[in-house]
Amino acid sequence: MSRIETIISELSSISNNPRKAMEDYKKETGKGSVGVMPYYAPEEIIHAAGFLPVGIWGGQKSISKARAYLPPFACSIMQSVMEMQLEGVYDDLEAVLFPVPCDTLKCLSQKWKGTSPVIVFTHPQNRKLEAANKFLAEEYRLVREKLETILNVKITDEALNQSIETYNENRKVMREFTDLAANYPQIIDPRIRHAIIKARFFMEKSKHTAMVKELNSELKSLPVEAFTGKKVVLTGIMAEPNEVLDILKDNGFAVVADDLAQESRLFRNDVPSGTDPLYRLAKWWQEFDGCSLATDAKKSRGPMLMEMVKGSKADAVVVCMMKFCDPEEFDYPIYYRQFEEAGIKSLFIEIDLETTSFEQTKTRVQSFSEML
Protein backbone atom coordinates (compact mmCIF):
# COMPACT_ATOMS: atom_id res chain seq x y z
CA MET A 1 0.00 0.00 0.00
CA SER A 2 1.11 3.50 -0.76
CA ARG A 3 1.56 6.00 2.03
CA ILE A 4 -1.67 7.69 0.98
CA GLU A 5 -3.59 4.43 1.10
CA THR A 6 -2.14 3.66 4.52
CA ILE A 7 -3.13 7.02 5.96
CA ILE A 8 -6.60 6.80 4.47
CA SER A 9 -7.01 3.31 5.81
CA GLU A 10 -5.92 4.29 9.32
CA LEU A 11 -8.10 7.38 9.49
CA SER A 12 -11.08 5.51 8.06
CA SER A 13 -10.63 2.80 10.62
CA ILE A 14 -10.53 5.34 13.44
CA SER A 15 -13.59 7.17 12.19
CA ASN A 16 -15.50 3.88 12.09
CA ASN A 17 -14.51 2.79 15.55
CA PRO A 18 -14.69 5.52 18.19
CA ARG A 19 -14.76 3.02 21.01
CA LYS A 20 -11.41 1.58 20.05
CA ALA A 21 -10.00 5.10 19.73
CA MET A 22 -11.14 5.83 23.28
CA GLU A 23 -9.62 2.63 24.60
CA ASP A 24 -6.34 3.22 22.80
CA TYR A 25 -6.16 6.72 24.23
CA LYS A 26 -6.73 5.42 27.75
CA LYS A 27 -4.04 2.79 27.30
CA GLU A 28 -1.62 5.34 26.00
CA THR A 29 -2.23 8.24 28.38
CA GLY A 30 -4.09 6.75 31.33
CA LYS A 31 -6.74 9.39 30.79
CA GLY A 32 -10.32 8.84 29.68
CA SER A 33 -12.67 10.64 27.30
CA VAL A 34 -15.25 13.38 27.51
CA GLY A 35 -18.17 13.28 25.10
CA VAL A 36 -18.90 16.36 23.03
CA MET A 37 -22.45 16.85 21.80
CA PRO A 38 -23.13 18.94 18.71
CA TYR A 39 -22.61 21.83 17.97
CA TYR A 40 -19.64 24.14 18.43
CA ALA A 41 -18.60 23.11 21.90
CA PRO A 42 -15.16 24.29 23.13
CA GLU A 43 -13.33 20.97 22.81
CA GLU A 44 -10.10 22.78 23.58
CA ILE A 45 -11.01 22.91 27.28
CA ILE A 46 -11.20 19.12 27.39
CA HIS A 47 -8.00 18.81 25.40
CA ALA A 48 -6.24 21.14 27.83
CA ALA A 49 -7.26 18.79 30.64
CA GLY A 50 -5.41 15.99 28.87
CA PHE A 51 -8.57 14.04 28.18
CA LEU A 52 -9.84 12.94 24.79
CA PRO A 53 -12.77 14.96 23.41
CA VAL A 54 -15.04 12.48 21.62
CA GLY A 55 -17.64 13.76 19.19
CA ILE A 56 -21.14 12.37 19.62
CA TRP A 57 -22.96 12.32 16.28
CA GLY A 58 -25.39 9.46 16.63
CA GLY A 59 -25.26 6.68 14.12
CA GLN A 60 -27.22 4.33 11.93
CA LYS A 61 -29.62 2.77 14.34
CA SER A 62 -33.07 1.35 14.32
CA ILE A 63 -34.92 3.30 16.99
CA SER A 64 -36.98 1.38 19.50
CA LYS A 65 -36.13 2.19 23.14
CA ALA A 66 -35.83 5.91 22.47
CA ARG A 67 -39.44 6.00 21.24
CA ALA A 68 -40.54 5.86 24.84
CA TYR A 69 -38.92 9.22 25.48
CA LEU A 70 -38.88 11.04 22.18
CA PRO A 71 -41.71 11.42 19.63
CA PRO A 72 -40.84 10.58 16.02
CA PHE A 73 -40.45 14.21 14.99
CA ALA A 74 -37.03 14.72 16.57
CA CYS A 75 -34.03 14.67 14.24
CA SER A 76 -32.33 11.33 13.72
CA ILE A 77 -29.05 12.41 15.30
CA MET A 78 -30.84 12.92 18.61
CA GLN A 79 -32.99 9.82 18.15
CA SER A 80 -29.94 7.63 17.69
CA VAL A 81 -28.03 9.39 20.46
CA MET A 82 -30.93 8.75 22.83
CA GLU A 83 -31.12 5.13 21.71
CA MET A 84 -27.42 4.70 22.44
CA GLN A 85 -27.75 6.45 25.79
CA LEU A 86 -30.34 3.86 26.74
CA GLU A 87 -28.03 1.08 25.60
CA GLY A 88 -25.26 2.38 27.81
CA VAL A 89 -23.00 3.05 24.86
CA TYR A 90 -21.81 6.37 26.32
CA ASP A 91 -21.38 5.29 29.92
CA ASP A 92 -17.59 5.09 29.71
CA LEU A 93 -17.40 8.81 29.09
CA GLU A 94 -16.15 10.73 32.11
CA ALA A 95 -18.55 13.54 31.27
CA VAL A 96 -20.60 14.92 28.41
CA LEU A 97 -20.27 18.52 27.25
CA PHE A 98 -23.66 19.67 26.01
CA PRO A 99 -24.38 22.87 24.04
CA VAL A 100 -28.01 23.86 23.35
CA PRO A 101 -28.23 25.97 20.18
CA CYS A 102 -31.59 24.50 19.13
CA ASP A 103 -34.84 23.64 20.89
CA THR A 104 -34.31 19.89 20.53
CA LEU A 105 -30.88 20.08 22.16
CA LYS A 106 -32.31 22.21 24.99
CA CYS A 107 -34.71 19.38 25.80
CA LEU A 108 -32.20 16.58 25.27
CA SER A 109 -29.74 18.30 27.63
CA GLN A 110 -32.24 17.77 30.42
CA LYS A 111 -32.76 14.07 29.93
CA TRP A 112 -29.46 12.22 29.54
CA LYS A 113 -30.28 8.56 30.03
CA GLY A 114 -26.68 7.45 30.48
CA THR A 115 -24.67 7.55 33.67
CA SER A 116 -22.10 10.24 32.81
CA PRO A 117 -22.43 13.72 34.32
CA VAL A 118 -23.67 16.28 31.82
CA ILE A 119 -22.26 19.80 31.57
CA VAL A 120 -24.70 22.11 29.80
CA PHE A 121 -23.83 25.53 28.47
CA THR A 122 -25.67 28.01 26.26
CA HIS A 123 -24.33 29.95 23.28
CA PRO A 124 -25.49 33.58 23.10
CA GLN A 125 -27.44 34.38 19.97
CA ASN A 126 -27.08 38.18 19.84
CA ARG A 127 -23.59 37.38 18.77
CA LYS A 128 -22.10 40.56 17.45
CA LEU A 129 -22.33 42.40 20.78
CA GLU A 130 -19.32 42.53 23.09
CA ALA A 131 -21.73 41.56 25.87
CA ALA A 132 -22.21 38.22 24.12
CA ASN A 133 -18.49 37.49 24.34
CA LYS A 134 -18.50 38.29 28.06
CA PHE A 135 -21.49 36.02 28.59
CA LEU A 136 -19.99 33.12 26.70
CA ALA A 137 -16.58 33.49 28.33
CA GLU A 138 -18.35 33.21 31.68
CA GLU A 139 -20.26 30.10 30.51
CA TYR A 140 -16.93 28.62 29.45
CA ARG A 141 -15.39 29.49 32.80
CA LEU A 142 -18.12 27.45 34.47
CA VAL A 143 -17.56 24.62 31.99
CA ARG A 144 -13.89 24.59 32.90
CA GLU A 145 -14.71 24.62 36.62
CA LYS A 146 -17.10 21.70 36.30
CA LEU A 147 -14.64 19.72 34.18
CA GLU A 148 -11.87 20.35 36.70
CA THR A 149 -14.07 18.98 39.47
CA ILE A 150 -15.28 15.94 37.56
CA LEU A 151 -11.92 15.06 36.01
CA ASN A 152 -9.92 16.05 39.07
CA VAL A 153 -7.44 18.11 37.08
CA LYS A 154 -6.43 21.72 36.92
CA ILE A 155 -6.92 23.35 33.53
CA THR A 156 -4.57 26.33 33.36
CA ASP A 157 -4.87 29.30 31.02
CA GLU A 158 -1.51 28.33 29.63
CA ALA A 159 -2.62 24.81 28.79
CA LEU A 160 -5.81 26.18 27.26
CA ASN A 161 -3.97 28.67 25.08
CA GLN A 162 -1.72 25.84 23.98
CA SER A 163 -4.69 23.65 23.12
CA ILE A 164 -6.21 26.47 21.10
CA GLU A 165 -3.01 26.65 19.06
CA THR A 166 -3.16 22.87 18.56
CA TYR A 167 -6.74 23.14 17.35
CA ASN A 168 -6.00 26.11 15.10
CA GLU A 169 -3.19 24.10 13.54
CA ASN A 170 -5.65 21.29 12.89
CA ARG A 171 -8.16 23.70 11.42
CA LYS A 172 -5.56 25.08 9.05
CA VAL A 173 -4.49 21.63 7.93
CA MET A 174 -8.12 20.63 7.41
CA ARG A 175 -8.78 23.66 5.23
CA GLU A 176 -5.76 22.71 3.17
CA PHE A 177 -7.07 19.17 2.96
CA THR A 178 -10.53 20.13 1.74
CA ASP A 179 -9.00 22.41 -0.89
CA LEU A 180 -6.63 19.67 -2.04
CA ALA A 181 -9.27 16.96 -1.98
CA ALA A 182 -11.22 19.01 -4.52
CA ASN A 183 -8.39 18.49 -6.99
CA TYR A 184 -8.02 14.76 -6.36
CA PRO A 185 -11.57 13.38 -6.35
CA GLN A 186 -10.37 10.13 -7.89
CA ILE A 187 -8.30 9.43 -4.79
CA ILE A 188 -10.33 11.27 -2.19
CA ASP A 189 -13.84 10.16 -3.02
CA PRO A 190 -16.82 11.43 -0.96
CA ARG A 191 -16.68 8.55 1.51
CA ILE A 192 -12.96 8.88 2.08
CA ARG A 193 -13.17 12.64 2.36
CA HIS A 194 -15.78 12.26 5.06
CA ALA A 195 -13.85 9.61 6.95
CA ILE A 196 -10.72 11.74 7.09
CA ILE A 197 -12.71 14.64 8.46
CA LYS A 198 -14.70 12.53 10.89
CA ALA A 199 -11.59 10.92 12.32
CA ARG A 200 -10.75 14.20 14.01
CA PHE A 201 -13.61 13.59 16.47
CA PHE A 202 -11.89 10.54 17.89
CA MET A 203 -8.24 11.51 17.92
CA GLU A 204 -6.07 13.79 19.95
CA LYS A 205 -5.95 16.70 17.56
CA SER A 206 -2.21 17.00 17.05
CA LYS A 207 -2.07 13.34 16.05
CA HIS A 208 -4.80 13.92 13.50
CA THR A 209 -3.01 17.02 12.25
CA ALA A 210 0.21 15.08 11.71
CA MET A 211 -1.51 12.43 9.62
CA VAL A 212 -3.51 14.84 7.51
CA LYS A 213 -0.46 17.04 7.02
CA GLU A 214 1.39 14.07 5.61
CA LEU A 215 -1.60 13.14 3.47
CA ASN A 216 -1.73 16.68 2.12
CA SER A 217 1.90 16.69 1.11
CA GLU A 218 1.58 13.27 -0.51
CA LEU A 219 -1.44 14.44 -2.49
CA LYS A 220 0.28 17.64 -3.57
CA SER A 221 3.07 15.63 -5.12
CA LEU A 222 0.68 13.84 -7.42
CA PRO A 223 -0.36 15.15 -10.83
CA VAL A 224 -3.89 16.50 -11.05
CA GLU A 225 -5.97 14.31 -13.31
CA ALA A 226 -8.85 15.68 -15.33
CA PHE A 227 -12.20 15.01 -13.69
CA THR A 228 -15.09 14.30 -16.01
CA GLY A 229 -17.81 14.22 -13.40
CA LYS A 230 -19.71 16.99 -11.72
CA LYS A 231 -18.49 19.05 -8.78
CA VAL A 232 -20.76 19.79 -5.88
CA VAL A 233 -20.82 21.78 -2.66
CA LEU A 234 -22.62 20.09 0.23
CA THR A 235 -24.57 22.15 2.73
CA GLY A 236 -26.40 21.11 5.88
CA ILE A 237 -25.73 19.40 9.20
CA MET A 238 -24.07 16.25 7.89
CA ALA A 239 -23.83 14.01 4.85
CA GLU A 240 -24.25 10.56 6.35
CA PRO A 241 -24.56 7.66 6.35
CA ASN A 242 -21.90 6.38 3.98
CA GLU A 243 -24.52 5.05 1.59
CA VAL A 244 -25.42 8.64 0.72
CA LEU A 245 -21.80 9.48 -0.02
CA ASP A 246 -21.45 6.36 -2.15
CA ILE A 247 -24.52 7.33 -4.14
CA LEU A 248 -22.89 10.67 -4.87
CA LYS A 249 -19.76 8.89 -6.01
CA ASP A 250 -21.64 6.33 -8.11
CA ASN A 251 -23.28 9.16 -9.99
CA GLY A 252 -20.03 10.86 -10.76
CA PHE A 253 -20.17 13.61 -8.16
CA ALA A 254 -17.10 15.00 -6.41
CA VAL A 255 -17.40 17.02 -3.23
CA VAL A 256 -15.26 20.08 -3.85
CA ALA A 257 -16.31 22.03 -0.78
CA ASP A 258 -18.73 21.71 2.08
CA ASP A 259 -20.77 23.81 4.47
CA LEU A 260 -21.60 21.03 6.89
CA ALA A 261 -21.91 21.46 10.66
CA GLN A 262 -20.03 18.17 11.08
CA GLU A 263 -17.24 19.23 8.75
CA SER A 264 -16.01 22.59 7.45
CA ARG A 265 -18.19 24.74 9.68
CA LEU A 266 -15.97 23.52 12.50
CA PHE A 267 -12.70 24.53 10.93
CA ARG A 268 -13.27 27.30 8.42
CA ASN A 269 -12.58 29.89 11.14
CA ASP A 270 -9.66 29.90 13.57
CA VAL A 271 -10.03 30.84 17.20
CA PRO A 272 -8.70 34.42 17.24
CA SER A 273 -5.50 35.37 18.99
CA GLY A 274 -5.40 36.86 22.45
CA THR A 275 -4.27 36.25 25.99
CA ASP A 276 -7.45 35.20 27.76
CA PRO A 277 -8.19 31.75 26.34
CA LEU A 278 -11.83 31.62 27.42
CA TYR A 279 -12.43 34.99 25.80
CA ARG A 280 -10.64 33.80 22.66
CA LEU A 281 -12.91 30.75 22.48
CA ALA A 282 -15.96 32.94 23.01
CA LYS A 283 -14.87 35.29 20.24
CA TRP A 284 -14.71 32.39 17.79
CA TRP A 285 -18.49 32.12 18.11
CA GLN A 286 -18.91 35.84 17.49
CA GLU A 287 -16.87 35.74 14.29
CA PHE A 288 -18.52 32.59 12.99
CA ASP A 289 -21.24 33.01 10.35
CA GLY A 290 -23.19 31.05 7.80
CA CYS A 291 -24.69 28.36 10.00
CA SER A 292 -28.39 27.91 10.72
CA LEU A 293 -27.61 27.64 14.43
CA ALA A 294 -25.78 30.98 14.61
CA THR A 295 -28.40 33.72 14.52
CA ASP A 296 -27.84 36.17 11.69
CA ALA A 297 -30.53 38.70 10.81
CA LYS A 298 -28.81 39.25 7.47
CA LYS A 299 -28.85 35.53 6.62
CA SER A 300 -25.45 35.56 4.96
CA ARG A 301 -25.50 31.81 4.35
CA GLY A 302 -26.96 32.09 0.85
CA PRO A 303 -24.38 34.59 -0.43
CA MET A 304 -21.64 32.59 1.33
CA LEU A 305 -22.71 29.40 -0.45
CA MET A 306 -22.82 31.19 -3.79
CA GLU A 307 -19.27 32.44 -3.21
CA MET A 308 -18.25 28.91 -2.32
CA VAL A 309 -19.74 27.59 -5.55
CA LYS A 310 -17.88 30.22 -7.53
CA GLY A 311 -14.61 29.74 -5.68
CA SER A 312 -14.61 25.97 -5.98
CA LYS A 313 -15.94 26.03 -9.55
CA ALA A 314 -18.72 23.74 -8.49
CA ASP A 315 -21.58 22.79 -10.77
CA ALA A 316 -24.22 22.68 -8.09
CA VAL A 317 -25.13 22.61 -4.42
CA VAL A 318 -26.45 19.48 -2.76
CA VAL A 319 -28.67 20.39 0.16
CA CYS A 320 -28.28 17.63 2.74
CA MET A 321 -31.39 18.35 4.75
CA MET A 322 -31.41 16.70 8.14
CA LYS A 323 -34.99 15.62 8.56
CA PHE A 324 -36.72 17.41 11.44
CA CYS A 325 -33.95 19.97 11.81
CA ASP A 326 -35.92 23.19 12.26
CA PRO A 327 -33.05 25.68 11.95
CA GLU A 328 -31.90 24.12 8.68
CA GLU A 329 -35.45 23.89 7.37
CA PHE A 330 -35.99 27.59 8.00
CA ASP A 331 -32.86 28.59 6.10
CA TYR A 332 -33.73 26.60 3.00
CA PRO A 333 -36.47 28.73 1.35
CA ILE A 334 -34.31 31.84 1.66
CA TYR A 335 -31.10 30.52 0.15
CA TYR A 336 -32.99 28.44 -2.40
CA ARG A 337 -34.62 31.57 -3.79
CA GLN A 338 -31.20 33.24 -3.89
CA PHE A 339 -29.82 30.24 -5.83
CA GLU A 340 -32.69 30.39 -8.31
CA GLU A 341 -32.16 34.09 -8.89
CA ALA A 342 -28.45 33.52 -9.48
CA GLY A 343 -29.02 30.49 -11.69
CA ILE A 344 -27.27 28.11 -9.30
CA LYS A 345 -28.58 24.55 -9.54
CA SER A 346 -29.32 22.65 -6.38
CA LEU A 347 -30.51 19.23 -5.35
CA PHE A 348 -32.48 18.56 -2.17
CA ILE A 349 -31.89 15.25 -0.43
CA GLU A 350 -33.08 14.17 2.97
CA ILE A 351 -30.71 12.93 5.64
CA ASP A 352 -32.13 10.42 8.06
CA LEU A 353 -29.80 8.15 10.01
CA GLU A 354 -32.58 5.65 10.54
CA THR A 355 -33.10 4.98 6.83
CA THR A 356 -32.32 1.48 5.64
CA SER A 357 -33.41 1.88 2.04
CA PHE A 358 -31.70 4.48 -0.09
CA GLU A 359 -33.73 4.12 -3.27
CA GLN A 360 -35.25 7.56 -2.96
CA THR A 361 -31.88 9.20 -2.54
CA LYS A 362 -30.51 7.16 -5.47
CA THR A 363 -33.36 8.35 -7.67
CA ARG A 364 -32.92 11.97 -6.75
CA VAL A 365 -29.16 11.98 -7.17
CA GLN A 366 -29.30 10.07 -10.41
CA SER A 367 -32.00 12.36 -11.81
CA PHE A 368 -29.95 15.34 -10.80
CA SER A 369 -26.83 14.04 -12.50
CA GLU A 370 -28.85 13.42 -15.64
CA MET A 371 -30.12 16.97 -15.39
CA LEU A 372 -26.77 18.69 -15.10
Binding site: Q360, K362, T363, R364, Q366, S367, M371
Partner: protein, 261 residues
Protein backbone atom coordinates in the same frame (compact mmCIF):
# COMPACT_ATOMS: atom_id res chain seq x y z
CA UNK B 1 -35.17 -1.25 -34.93
CA UNK B 2 -36.78 -2.14 -31.65
CA UNK B 3 -35.98 -0.76 -28.23
CA UNK B 4 -37.57 -1.49 -24.88
CA UNK B 5 -38.25 0.56 -21.79
CA UNK B 6 -39.02 -1.15 -18.48
CA UNK B 7 -40.46 0.83 -15.57
CA UNK B 8 -40.62 -1.10 -12.32
CA UNK B 9 -42.48 0.86 -9.67
CA UNK B 10 -43.48 0.04 -6.14
CA UNK B 11 -46.97 -1.06 -7.08
CA UNK B 12 -46.88 -1.70 -10.82
CA UNK B 13 -44.57 -2.78 -13.61
CA UNK B 14 -44.70 -1.35 -17.13
CA UNK B 15 -43.01 -2.21 -20.41
CA UNK B 16 -43.01 -0.34 -23.72
CA UNK B 17 -41.60 -1.64 -26.99
CA UNK B 18 -40.79 1.07 -29.46
CA UNK B 19 -40.17 0.69 -33.18
CA UNK B 20 -37.67 3.08 -34.74
CA UNK B 21 -38.08 5.43 -31.84
CA UNK B 22 -41.60 6.50 -32.81
CA UNK B 23 -44.09 3.64 -32.99
CA UNK B 24 -45.36 2.18 -29.76
CA UNK B 25 -46.02 -1.43 -30.65
CA UNK B 26 -46.54 -2.61 -27.09
CA UNK B 27 -47.38 -0.82 -23.87
CA UNK B 28 -48.23 -3.21 -21.04
CA UNK B 29 -49.01 -2.60 -17.38
CA UNK B 30 -49.26 -5.10 -14.58
CA UNK B 31 -50.42 -4.08 -11.13
CA UNK B 32 -47.61 -5.58 -9.14
CA UNK B 33 -44.30 -4.02 -8.63
CA UNK B 34 -40.72 -4.56 -7.69
CA UNK B 35 -39.62 -7.72 -5.90
CA UNK B 36 -42.39 -9.83 -7.42
CA UNK B 37 -42.98 -11.86 -10.57
CA UNK B 38 -44.63 -8.76 -12.03
CA UNK B 39 -41.62 -7.46 -13.96
CA UNK B 40 -40.96 -10.78 -15.68
CA UNK B 41 -44.61 -11.29 -16.53
CA UNK B 42 -45.17 -7.88 -18.04
CA UNK B 43 -41.96 -8.23 -20.01
CA UNK B 44 -43.21 -11.46 -21.56
CA UNK B 45 -46.65 -10.01 -22.17
CA UNK B 46 -45.18 -7.08 -24.05
CA UNK B 47 -42.96 -9.30 -26.18
CA UNK B 48 -45.80 -11.65 -26.99
CA UNK B 49 -48.08 -8.72 -27.85
CA UNK B 50 -45.46 -7.39 -30.25
CA UNK B 51 -44.66 -10.81 -31.58
CA UNK B 52 -40.99 -10.33 -30.77
CA UNK B 53 -38.24 -11.94 -28.73
CA UNK B 54 -35.93 -10.35 -26.17
CA UNK B 55 -33.02 -10.75 -28.62
CA UNK B 56 -34.86 -8.49 -31.06
CA UNK B 57 -34.36 -5.55 -28.75
CA UNK B 58 -31.45 -3.38 -29.82
CA UNK B 59 -31.29 -1.92 -26.35
CA UNK B 60 -33.23 -2.15 -23.10
CA UNK B 61 -33.30 0.56 -20.49
CA UNK B 62 -34.84 0.19 -17.03
CA UNK B 63 -36.27 2.91 -14.84
CA UNK B 64 -38.36 3.26 -11.70
CA UNK B 65 -37.89 2.24 -8.09
CA UNK B 66 -36.84 -1.29 -8.98
CA UNK B 67 -34.64 -0.43 -11.94
CA UNK B 68 -31.42 -1.82 -10.51
CA UNK B 69 -32.88 -5.30 -10.29
CA UNK B 70 -33.83 -5.69 -13.95
CA UNK B 71 -31.27 -8.15 -15.26
CA UNK B 72 -32.38 -7.79 -18.87
CA UNK B 73 -31.63 -4.08 -18.97
CA UNK B 74 -28.43 -2.74 -20.47
CA UNK B 75 -28.65 0.50 -18.52
CA UNK B 76 -30.81 2.31 -16.03
CA UNK B 77 -31.97 5.90 -16.04
CA UNK B 78 -33.97 7.69 -13.35
CA UNK B 79 -37.72 7.93 -13.76
CA UNK B 80 -37.49 11.71 -13.59
CA UNK B 81 -35.57 11.83 -16.84
CA UNK B 82 -37.70 9.08 -18.36
CA UNK B 83 -40.99 10.77 -17.49
CA UNK B 84 -39.70 13.97 -19.03
CA UNK B 85 -38.65 12.12 -22.18
CA UNK B 86 -41.87 10.16 -22.50
CA UNK B 87 -44.24 13.03 -21.77
CA UNK B 88 -42.38 15.43 -24.05
CA UNK B 89 -42.64 12.88 -26.86
CA UNK B 90 -46.41 12.60 -26.38
CA UNK B 91 -47.03 16.28 -25.61
CA UNK B 92 -44.25 18.44 -27.08
CA UNK B 93 -45.76 21.55 -25.53
CA UNK B 94 -45.39 20.16 -22.01
CA UNK B 95 -43.58 22.43 -19.55
CA UNK B 96 -44.64 20.97 -16.19
CA UNK B 97 -45.25 17.32 -15.41
CA UNK B 98 -47.17 16.18 -12.37
CA UNK B 99 -46.60 12.47 -11.79
CA UNK B 100 -48.59 10.80 -9.04
CA UNK B 101 -47.63 7.19 -8.59
CA UNK B 102 -48.30 4.44 -6.11
CA UNK B 103 -45.92 5.70 -3.48
CA UNK B 104 -44.65 9.06 -4.56
CA UNK B 105 -45.58 12.37 -6.11
CA UNK B 106 -43.33 14.32 -8.42
CA UNK B 107 -43.37 17.67 -10.14
CA UNK B 108 -40.93 18.03 -13.06
CA UNK B 109 -40.21 21.24 -14.89
CA UNK B 110 -39.08 20.94 -18.48
CA UNK B 111 -37.00 23.26 -20.57
CA UNK B 112 -37.88 24.05 -24.19
CA UNK B 113 -36.06 20.93 -25.42
CA UNK B 114 -37.88 18.61 -23.05
CA UNK B 115 -34.90 18.29 -20.70
CA UNK B 116 -35.35 18.33 -16.95
CA UNK B 117 -34.91 21.82 -15.56
CA UNK B 118 -35.97 21.18 -11.96
CA UNK B 119 -37.83 18.57 -9.98
CA UNK B 120 -39.35 18.13 -6.55
CA UNK B 121 -40.70 14.98 -5.05
CA UNK B 122 -42.44 13.64 -2.01
CA UNK B 123 -41.22 10.14 -1.63
CA UNK B 124 -41.31 9.75 2.13
CA UNK B 125 -44.96 9.60 3.01
CA UNK B 126 -48.17 8.16 1.65
CA UNK B 127 -50.26 11.30 1.75
CA UNK B 128 -50.99 12.62 -1.72
CA UNK B 129 -50.01 9.38 -3.47
CA UNK B 130 -51.85 6.45 -4.98
CA UNK B 131 -51.53 4.70 -1.62
CA UNK B 132 -53.60 7.45 -0.01
CA UNK B 133 -56.34 6.91 -2.58
CA UNK B 134 -56.14 3.13 -2.05
CA UNK B 135 -56.72 3.53 1.66
CA UNK B 136 -59.60 5.94 1.16
CA UNK B 137 -61.23 3.84 -1.54
CA UNK B 138 -61.26 0.89 0.83
CA UNK B 139 -62.69 2.88 3.69
CA UNK B 140 -65.37 4.35 1.44
CA UNK B 141 -66.05 1.03 -0.27
CA UNK B 142 -65.85 2.68 -3.66
CA UNK B 143 -63.67 1.28 -6.43
CA UNK B 144 -60.76 3.42 -7.46
CA UNK B 145 -62.09 3.66 -10.99
CA UNK B 146 -65.43 4.95 -9.72
CA UNK B 147 -63.97 7.75 -7.60
CA UNK B 148 -64.14 10.32 -10.38
CA UNK B 149 -67.82 9.63 -11.07
CA UNK B 150 -68.71 10.09 -7.41
CA UNK B 151 -66.67 13.29 -7.33
CA UNK B 152 -68.59 14.68 -10.29
CA UNK B 153 -71.78 14.44 -8.22
CA UNK B 154 -70.34 16.22 -5.18
CA UNK B 155 -72.28 19.22 -3.93
CA UNK B 156 -69.90 20.40 -1.23
CA UNK B 157 -66.44 18.89 -0.89
CA UNK B 158 -65.70 17.77 2.64
CA UNK B 159 -62.43 18.79 4.20
CA UNK B 160 -60.04 15.90 4.21
CA UNK B 161 -57.06 17.88 5.13
CA UNK B 162 -54.81 15.67 7.19
CA UNK B 163 -51.21 15.41 6.16
CA UNK B 164 -51.13 11.97 7.65
CA UNK B 165 -52.91 9.12 5.86
CA UNK B 166 -53.81 7.43 9.12
CA UNK B 167 -55.38 10.55 10.56
CA UNK B 168 -57.15 11.18 7.26
CA UNK B 169 -58.55 7.69 7.34
CA UNK B 170 -60.04 8.31 10.75
CA UNK B 171 -61.34 11.69 9.59
CA UNK B 172 -63.13 10.02 6.68
CA UNK B 173 -64.60 7.32 8.90
CA UNK B 174 -65.79 10.04 11.20
CA UNK B 175 -67.45 11.91 8.37
CA UNK B 176 -69.13 8.75 7.08
CA UNK B 177 -70.60 8.06 10.47
CA UNK B 178 -71.81 11.66 10.63
CA UNK B 179 -73.72 11.07 7.44
CA UNK B 180 -71.59 13.12 5.07
CA UNK B 181 -72.28 11.96 1.50
CA UNK B 182 -69.61 9.78 -0.07
CA UNK B 183 -69.56 12.07 -3.09
CA UNK B 184 -68.52 14.99 -0.94
CA UNK B 185 -65.94 13.02 0.98
CA UNK B 186 -64.38 11.78 -2.25
CA UNK B 187 -64.22 15.32 -3.56
CA UNK B 188 -62.40 16.21 -0.36
CA UNK B 189 -60.02 13.27 -0.77
CA UNK B 190 -59.23 14.40 -4.29
CA UNK B 191 -58.61 17.94 -3.11
CA UNK B 192 -56.25 16.65 -0.47
CA UNK B 193 -54.21 14.74 -3.06
CA UNK B 194 -54.28 17.75 -5.39
CA UNK B 195 -52.97 20.12 -2.76
CA UNK B 196 -49.98 17.88 -2.08
CA UNK B 197 -49.15 17.69 -5.78
CA UNK B 198 -49.70 21.39 -6.33
CA UNK B 199 -47.38 22.25 -3.47
CA UNK B 200 -44.58 20.52 -5.36
CA UNK B 201 -45.71 22.08 -8.64
CA UNK B 202 -45.48 25.58 -7.22
CA UNK B 203 -41.97 24.87 -5.92
CA UNK B 204 -41.03 23.95 -9.51
CA UNK B 205 -42.79 26.87 -11.09
CA UNK B 206 -46.15 26.49 -12.84
CA UNK B 207 -46.08 26.95 -16.59
CA UNK B 208 -48.38 25.56 -19.28
CA UNK B 209 -48.77 23.08 -20.73
CA UNK B 210 -49.25 21.07 -17.59
CA UNK B 211 -49.35 17.30 -18.12
CA UNK B 212 -50.31 14.63 -15.62
CA UNK B 213 -49.04 11.08 -15.71
CA UNK B 214 -48.72 8.16 -13.35
CA UNK B 215 -51.44 5.75 -12.29
CA UNK B 216 -53.41 8.38 -10.37
CA UNK B 217 -53.84 10.48 -13.54
CA UNK B 218 -56.52 7.98 -14.53
CA UNK B 219 -58.65 9.38 -11.73
CA UNK B 220 -60.23 12.39 -13.41
CA UNK B 221 -61.40 13.65 -10.05
CA UNK B 222 -57.78 14.28 -9.06
CA UNK B 223 -57.05 15.86 -12.45
CA UNK B 224 -59.97 18.23 -12.04
CA UNK B 225 -58.94 19.11 -8.49
CA UNK B 226 -55.38 19.90 -9.60
CA UNK B 227 -56.63 22.00 -12.51
CA UNK B 228 -58.91 23.88 -10.12
CA UNK B 229 -56.12 24.53 -7.65
CA UNK B 230 -53.63 25.70 -10.29
CA UNK B 231 -56.34 27.61 -12.17
CA UNK B 232 -54.97 26.18 -15.37
CA UNK B 233 -55.93 23.39 -17.75
CA UNK B 234 -54.30 20.04 -17.13
CA UNK B 235 -53.66 17.54 -19.90
CA UNK B 236 -53.68 13.86 -19.04
CA UNK B 237 -50.93 12.07 -20.96
CA UNK B 238 -52.33 9.37 -23.23
CA UNK B 239 -51.88 6.05 -21.42
CA UNK B 240 -50.46 7.87 -18.40
CA UNK B 241 -49.03 4.83 -16.65
CA UNK B 242 -46.52 3.96 -19.37
CA UNK B 243 -44.96 7.36 -19.96
CA UNK B 244 -41.77 6.60 -18.03
CA UNK B 245 -41.34 3.23 -19.76
CA UNK B 246 -41.87 5.05 -23.06
CA UNK B 247 -39.22 7.58 -22.11
CA UNK B 248 -36.82 4.76 -21.29
CA UNK B 249 -37.49 3.15 -24.67
CA UNK B 250 -36.84 6.48 -26.41
CA UNK B 251 -33.59 6.93 -24.50
CA UNK B 252 -32.63 3.41 -25.62
CA UNK B 253 -33.36 4.33 -29.24
CA UNK B 254 -31.35 7.54 -29.01
CA UNK B 255 -28.39 5.70 -27.57
CA UNK B 256 -28.41 3.04 -30.28
CA UNK B 257 -28.73 5.67 -32.97
CA UNK B 258 -25.98 7.73 -31.41
CA UNK B 259 -23.69 4.72 -31.18
CA UNK B 260 -24.32 3.92 -34.83
CA UNK B 261 -23.14 7.33 -35.99
Amino acid sequence: MFTMGIDIGSSSSKVVILEDGVNIIAGEVIQIGTGSTGPKRVLNEALSKAGLKLEDMAKIIATGYGRSSVEEAHKQISEISCQAKGVFFLVPSAKLIIDIGGQDVKAIRLDSKGGVKQFFMNDKCAAGTGRFLDVMSRVLEVNLDEMAEYDARATEPATVSSTCTVFAESEVISQLSNGVAKENIIAGVHQSVASKACGLAYRCGVEEDIVMCGGVAKDLGVVRAISKELKKPVIVAPNPQITAALGAAIFAFEEVRGANK
